[in-house]
Amino acid sequence: MNEKKAPNMHGHGMKRGRVKKQTVKRLLTYLKIYKFKFPLVLLSILVSSVVGVVASLFLQTLIDDYIAPLLLMAVPDFSNLLRIVLIMAGVYLCGVVATWIYNRTMMVIAEGVMKRIRDDMFAHMQTLPIKYFDTHNFGDVMSYFTNDTDTLRQMLAQAIPQVFSSLLTIVAVFSAMLYLSVWLTLFVAAFALIASRVIKRIAGNSGRHFVKQQKALADLNGFVEEMINGQKVIKVFCHEEQVKRDFDRHNEALRDNTEKANRYVNILPPIMNNLGFVLYVLIAIVGGFMAVNGMGNVGLSGAGVVTIGTIVSFLQLSRSLIGPLNQVSQQANHIVLALAGAERIFELLDEPSETDEGYVTLVNAKYDENGNIVETAERTGMWAWKHPHRDGTLTYTKLTGDVRMVDVDFCYTEGKPVLQDITLYAEPGQKVAFVGATGAGKTTITNLINRFYDIADGKIRYDGININKIKKSDLRRSLGVVLQDVNLFTGTVMDNIRYGRLDATDEECIQAAKLANADGFIRMLPQGYDTVISGSGNGLSQGQRQLISIARAAVADPPVMILDEATSSIDTRTEAIVQKGMDRLMEGRTVFVIAHRLSTVKNADVIMVLDHGRIIERGSHEKLIAEKGRYYQLYTGAFELE
């Protein structure tokens, strides 16, 4: 629940601005499947509210029409009374059932809508291009899933039914009032307006402080997180006192804003209640005055004088008025916030998905009697590209891992070229290493081969086929990528390794772990391969996580592998062992290695040195050392690799 409470509001949604009609319309489309349930809810709320108003009028009717006559009878006959009580019991029963129906159904609708929105959000997110994730703040996207969906659910499940019910009650009460006396109604209406203004002012104040409170909360949370995560450094430097003082500042700011925000929220109910009492008195006075002076009265029921019964009814009705008024004003604020959240959710849903115009797919293949490549359903170790041509023919090209880039230019943002004139070729089975300073473009090249980003200019060919023609999912299946930032998922070690190939058997996973030299430490874990590890990696060292990530890639058994600084957290001795395993794995495969540790790239077939997006040197290790160029300088430490 942490992330929910540390909001990244950035002023979003706290703007009390206009709510787009579009947003409301879209929400309604989610309600469409409930085309019977939703009107049922509205109907039930109507019934429930009407019964509520009737109940408040019943007392007066009871007194005037049933008790008063009974008082005049010498021998009271209670049969009439009994009958009305039974009728009312029936009416009330309807009201109760209606309340039950709408409570139950509204929750079902709200939960159902939220589930569909959640599912849609996540599914759509999976289709978004990497660019979206690189350009959007992690905290913001998380808050769509947490804060925004929460407020939306609150709105659907509570705010809307309550507001609707309150509005209906207000309408019913005013109708009843009008029926009795137009003059008194006008008076009450005037009072109600003034009351609403007061409520709005106070709610507005509390809203302002609430915003400040959220900010103070976010500040304190950020501070606490930073300090607690760096607690060991604080101890090592005996910095505790200073840190305490800084904490006090943030803590006090939060306390101050919380107190102010809550104060306004707390004051509202007493004010509401007592305004109701004041209204009561005023009605009594005005009504009494009118009655005593026999003033004329006009009502929808007819003209006449103001009777005692009228006044008493009014008094009763007025008690039912203040509550709903309060509800409407308070909930209106929540609804505005929730719709702002919904708007953000729909923005996410409207983000364009990753486009893929590829039509070449990857299939299992084997040689037939004539030596031609032919597609097969069985799992062979051989893969081929299935290339349908415009004229209807079909060619199969064996997957060998021949990757060529010709004159490739690329930039993440216009005007800031990251790669320029890159020409390289990797023959099947070669190990190609990229070295260069941070920002030279090494990781970018892998982003392009993978089609996480698409190039601006130039050609990239894979086994002779333009990679734009290859379906992205098939392209990626043929590449294995191990990144420096290890991302594991919460689950068992076996599950994490199996992520590389979902149909891998346990033995195959263990084989892969042995290859990556991870088997040893995995067996020492409390439940071995069945130990549950968390995505954030508590309990495993960085090196161990990297070994699991290598095992995962090994199990995927891809024809081409890209290792992006994949062994930086491992000590050189373990790395050497892993290298031996990787060498076995890499036989006959093409491998791209990006490293800043020269020990990693030493035994590459070809080393390419990148500088500011250009390849400035290429050759084997021995050749480049002899050239005494940039590689030589990097190697002997004249320049930093970072």
Partner: protein, 583 residues
């Protein structure tokens, strides 16, 4: 548990006690007001007595105003008390964390410490505010309304005594059944959010392995689980409001029937039986009684939910550091000599396998010592015992000839500077970060330390130089730059011992050599301990310790170890294959 929590009330005791008092006053007035309201009808309107209406009306308004003031004040004091209580709780927890040792922190885990200070405190704050206000108001209202009802007519009040328990029972039953379901919902929600966050962070992995559909399937399954749990809980929760209404309407009807009979029997005379005005009051009381019950059930739910949070807060408040200063702690560290005597260590008490086994070493003051070993060989563990970040399980660690447990902790740590493997910088300028080493350092001393750490040149290359702002965690600096700043920070302490735990892994070989040379020349009296992965970093140390699986495998100079240690030889060869010479 409550006692521990309430200790944090301190200066907010006054508003905390005042609130219930004010609330009580408010309730009393709210009970009286319906009486006035009834009288206005009975003696004012019914009799057409304008004067009476005005008089009692004025009284009623006065009472309403008084109630408003009391209510507003109560709201104010409640806000003050609860916000202040929360502040003190947070402060007490945070201060306590500052006094805890590494092993305490490991045990509690940083994530859970953060949750306790933030989320759990918020839950307890809400519960507290409810308790001093609503939990006083509702029962009081209940009692007063019942009393007033009895006052009017004991017979009719009995109806309430019958209905109220029915409502209460139903509500409690619902809560008991719903609560475990809701807990499951919240836990599943946490799992959902965790999955989303892992997916977001690992989206490249997802796309690389083409697992988009798999992830979506996983998500939908959890989403469905939440829906199912919610539906089950909802079936019960939906019974709350209708039950309340049913009880309300039932009481009204019963009161109407029996009340009518009473009024008729007494001829409408309030002194003998009941009047119509009193009947009106009874209706008002009925709603007050039942609403109070509803409110009480909500308070109960709130308390149940926050109970878990309260327990976690108390656990953190009660945690005592397991590293204490001894009696008469030694305040002066004589020199930088270090001795390990038969040291055994494990992080978890009673763990089967020891992390460090039977380690005995001697390091002279001023020596440069390198430590080499594979991933997980316990190098970092070894050095963390020197500034007493953890205590040994058995054996002794002596610094300057004195057992580290006999030193005053602060004095010891002033003299043992450590650069940890995980380099943490804090938000602030470079200067501010450096001054962690020595708050009184002059600018020249800062620059001197940075020169030694080969950081001065890159700092000066920034437009703001030493005043450059460091983003949270040091995100705007490269790994190598962060490491060098951390080394400079440690150097500013002018300690007797400096420990560098893999602090130059992101720095290239040439700069690494430069730093080591500067350290050798400028702080020759300081004992230097260097843990590294590169043989090159430790090759010219006075002695090198080779660690393997928690034991000291070999100790010696570079040349000695090439002869004597197979492990050392293997590492050396793997790094120099292909002609890597460090020249």
């Amino acid at each position: 548990m409550l006692k521990t929590l309430l200790r944090s009330l301190r200066e907010y005791k006054k508003p905390a006690l005042l609130t219930p008092l004010l609330v009580s006053g408010e309730v009393v007035l709210e009970i009286i007001i319906p009486l006035f309201m009834a009288n206005i009808i009975d003696y004012g309107i019914d009799k057409g007595d304008m004067n009476y209406i005005l008089k009692v009306g004025a009284l009623l308004v006065l009472a309403a105003v008084a109630s408003l003031i009391l209510g507003a004040l109560a709201g104010s004091t409640a806000a003050k008390a609860s916000a202040g209580f929360a502040k003190n709780l947070r402060q007490d927890m945070f201060y306590n964390v500052q006094s805890l040792s590494f092993s305490n922190i490991d045990k509690l885990s940083t994530a859970s410490i953060i949750t306790r200070i933030t989320t759990d405190t918020a839950n307890v704050q809400m519960a507290f505010q409810m308790l001093i206000r609503t939990a006083v108001r509702a029962p009081l209202m209940l009692i007063c309304a019942m009393t007033a009802s009895f006052n009017i007519s004991a017979k009719l009040a009995l109806i309430f005594l019958g209905v109220a328990p029915v409502l209460a029972t139903v509500l409690v039953l619902i809560i008991r059944k719903v609560h475990p379901l809701m807990e499951r919902v919240f836990k599943t929600y946490d799992d959902l959010n965790r999955d989303v966050s892992e997916n977001l962070r690992g989206i490249r992995v997802v796309k690389t392995f083409v697992r988009e559909d798999y992830e979506t399937g996983k998500f939908k399954r959890i989403s469905q689980k939440i829906y199912d749990y919610f539906s089950r809980a909802n079936k019960l929760v939906a019974l709350n409001a209708p039950t309340m209404q049913a009880c309300m309407y039932a009481s009204m009807l019963l009161v109407s029937w029996f009340g009518a009979r009473l009024i008729v029997a007494s001829g409408g005379n309030p002194d003998v039986g009941m009047s119509t005005g009193q009947l009106t009051s009874l209706f008002a009381y009925a709603s007050q009684i039942l609403v109070s019950l509803m409110v009480l059930s909500m308070v109960l739910v709130m308390v149940i939910i926050s109970r878990a949070s309260a327990e976690r807060i108390v656990e953190l408040l009660n945690e005592k550091s397991d590293l204490q200063n001894g009696e008469n702690p030694v305040k002066e560290v004589k020199d930088g000599s270090i001795r390990f005597e038969n040291v055994n260590f494990s992080y978890a008490k009673g763990a089967e396998k020891l992390c460090l086994e039977n380690v005995s070493l001697f390091i002279r003051s001023g020596e440069t010592v390198g430590i080499i070993g594979g991933t997980g060989s316990a190098k970092s563990t070894l050095v963390q015992l020197i500034p007493r970040l953890y205590d040994v399980t058995s054996g002794r660690v002596l610094v300057g000839g004195v057992d580290v447990r006999d030193y005053d902790l602060e004095a010891l740590r002033e003299q043992v500077a450590m650069v940890l493997q995980k380099n943490v910088l804090f938000s602030g300028t470079i200067k501010e970060n450096l001054r962690w080493g020595n708050p009184d350092a002059t600018d020249e001393e800062l620059e001197e330390a940075c020169r030694l750490a080969a950081a001065d040149s890159f700092i000066k290359s920034f437009p703001d130089g030493y005043d450059t702002f460091v983003e949270q965690g040091g995100a705007n600096l490269s790994g190598g730059q962060r490491q060098r700043l951390c080394i400079a920070r440690a150097l500013l302490k002018k300690p007797k011992i400096i420990i560098l735990d893999d602090s130059t892994s992101a720095v290239d070989t040439k700069t690494d050599a430069q730093i080591r040379k500067a350290l050798k020349e400028h702080i020759s009296e300081t004992t230097k301990i260097i843990i590294a992965q590169r043989i090159a970093s430790v090759m010219d140390a006075d002695k090198i310790i080779v660690m393997d699986d928690g034991r000291v495998s070999a100790v010696g100079t570079h040349d000695e170890l090439l002869q004597a240690s197979a492990i050392y030889r293997e590492v050396y060869e793997s790094q120099t294959r292909g002609g890597l010479a460090n020249e």
